[in-house]
């Protein structure tokens, strides 16, 4: 069976050029980048080349990039690191209701440590109104953290405007750009960004490696103590092959961004238009236009998301849903909740997330399968007994 991968916001296929670039640092130049000998120097040079490529992609200086184990660690270091280092200035942090759990749960941890956190609401399209940030700013606000693009519904935020508001109030501005690299061009100077989190596996790089941009002069405290690698902010022997992969992947992503965005946008638009017309009781979650070029997120009446994802998987199409159903975790997506979608409707959500490797033929194949999958599930469902008001969700 020809398998179609439409779950690129979860992770992407490593680019063969990335795998090739990593290989010598796995089997030949395995030195520790801190060592004085040739092995060490080869690793060190590779590390610095990746740092240069990463900084170039977001308009940063080379020394403003540090490497981490991924997006989650980068978000944690940014938020915890800044919060604890700036306690003398205040203990108020602002974020949004639709952040990734790497940000949300870090903010909840800060609350348990005595910090005050404001969670900004979003409008029905998932947009944070700059005005609401303005009114949330206080004298003791030390940090504002808002994602550049949402991982579930793809809504893009006006990072530049939000960053400017944070700076006007004297706060440090962090953005989780994990979903944005290779899709939304960001420039840390132009866009008023002080901290920016990156994860390699979201743009055809390897898993387990990420980066954090830290504007020069930002006071920040490490999470991990040890040998003092990464300017003392992230001790631990550097993951050289992973970092080389990140550097190669970000370089390719930026070199091919125009072409990739154009391709993903046309496939996304086709999928949105045709899904809405082919299936009754189907709605688009999020904004029609102000969204990531690779994201489509639907909800379907009388269909449960997990059952839909499995139905599509049986037909060889990999997707995801915001509905997690189990006694351990029966919460539906906090993002869908924040944009005002009722639980029972949020249960029928389907996310399609593309990469530059997807094709129009794959979209066609998906469009053949989706109406069938929906009507099969509805034929199993007691639709007549499920008036929208009686189905509970959670």
């Amino acid at each position: 069976m020809q398998r179609i991968y439409f779950d690129n916001s979860a992770t992407t296929r490593p680019d063969p050029r990335v795998v090739e670039a990593m290989r010598p640092y796995l089997d030949q130049w395995y030195g520790n980048a801190s060592s004085l000998h040739t092995f060490g120097r080869e690793s060190f040079n590779a590390l610095e080349e990746a740092r240069r490529r990463t900084s170039k992609a977001i308009g940063a200086q080379v020394r403003e990039i540090i490497f981490t184990s991924g997006g989650t660690e980068s978000d944690n270091l940014a938020i915890q690191g800044v919060a604890f280092a700036n306690l003398q200035r205040g203990n108020h942090v602002i974020t949004s209701a639709i952040e990734h759990h790497a940000v949300l749960n870090t903010c909840r941890f800060l609350e348990s440590q005595g910090f005050r956190v404001t969670y900004l609401p979003v409008d029905p399209e998932g947009v944070i109104e700059p005005e609401s940030l303005k009114s949330a700013m206080r004298k003791d606000t030390i940090l504002v953290s808002v994602m550049a693009a949402n991982n579930e519904i793809g809504t893009l935020q006006d990072v530049r405007e939000l960053g400017a508001i944070a700076h006007d109030g004297g706060a440090i501005f962090h953005t989780d750009a994990v979903q944005s690299i290779g899709k939304v061009p960001l420039d840390v100077s132009r866009d008023n960004i002080d901290l920016l989190a990156i994860s390699a596996h979201k743009f055809h790089g390897p898993k387990g490696v990420g980066a954090l941009y830290i504007r020069k002069g930002t006071s920040i405290r490490p999470l991990v103590y040890g040998g003092g690698q990464e300017r003392g902010l992230r001790s631990s022997t550097e993951n050289v092959p992973g970092i080389v992969g990140l550097g190669k992947a970000i370089e390719i992503s930026m070199a091919e961004i125009d072409e990739s965005v154009k391709k993903m946008t046309s496939i996304r638009d086709y999928i949105i238009k045709r899904t809405l017309s082919a299936v009754d009781g189907c709605y688009l979650n999020g904004s029609r236009d102000r969204r990531l070029c690779n994201n489509a997120n639907f909800r379907f009446d009388y269909v449960e998301g997990e059952a839909l994802v499995l139905s599509l998987d049986i037909k060889g199409i990999a997707t995801s849903t915001g509905s997690a159903c189990s006694s351990r975790d029966s919460e539906t997506s906090h993002v869908l909740k924040a944009i005002g979608i009722r639980n029972e409707q949020a249960r029928g959500s389907l996310r399609i997330s593309l990469s530059r490797l997807n094709t129009m033929e794959e979209a066609e194949r998906y469009l053949e399968v989706i109406p069938e999958a929906i009507s099969r599930l509805r034929s199993i469902s007691p639709v007549a007994m499920l008036s929208k008001s009686t189905v509970k969700g959670g």
Partner: protein, 125 residues
């Protein structure tokens, strides 16, 4: 933990799906936590369940376990059918049913209780 092959098989080809016209008893159970709904239709003769149908709104575990449950109760006496609980349905999937799905998704046995109550009510009148 992912679903085992028997869960996927029952999810892909559910047995005894659909509404039953002229059922002797109809019962509905729903899960307030995550909103799953199961409806069970039964036909009864000589104290035995001679035919059964189900309809389910819910995840793959809810659909597959409803299907499995209808297979388990068909032909059984009402009394024996009522003894089949969540754990017994889960065991029928030979370790393929994730632990965290048992409590919330296997609600067909509760729907059967309602269907039997409905049947008994109808007989009295």
């Amino acid at each position: 933990m992912p679903y085992g092959p028997k869960v996927i098989e029952h999810f892909t080809n559910p047995r005894n799906v659909g509404e039953m016209k002229g059922a002797d008893g109809v019962g509905k159970a729903s899960n307030d936590i995550d909103g799953d709904v199961v409806v069970i239709y039964i036909k009864i003769a000589d104290g035995k369940i001679i035919d059964v149908r189900f309809q389910t709104f819910g995840c793959a575990a809810a659909i597959a376990s409803s299907s499995m449950f209808t297979e388990m109760i068909r032909g059984k006496s009402v009394e024996d059918a009522l003894k089949i609980d969540k754990q017994m349905v889960a065991q029928a999937f030979e370790d393929g049913m994730p632990e965290n799905k048992i409590e919330c998704s296997i609600i067909a046995p509760e729907a059967l209780k309602e269907a039997v109550a409905d049947y008994r009510r109808k007989r009295i009148h």
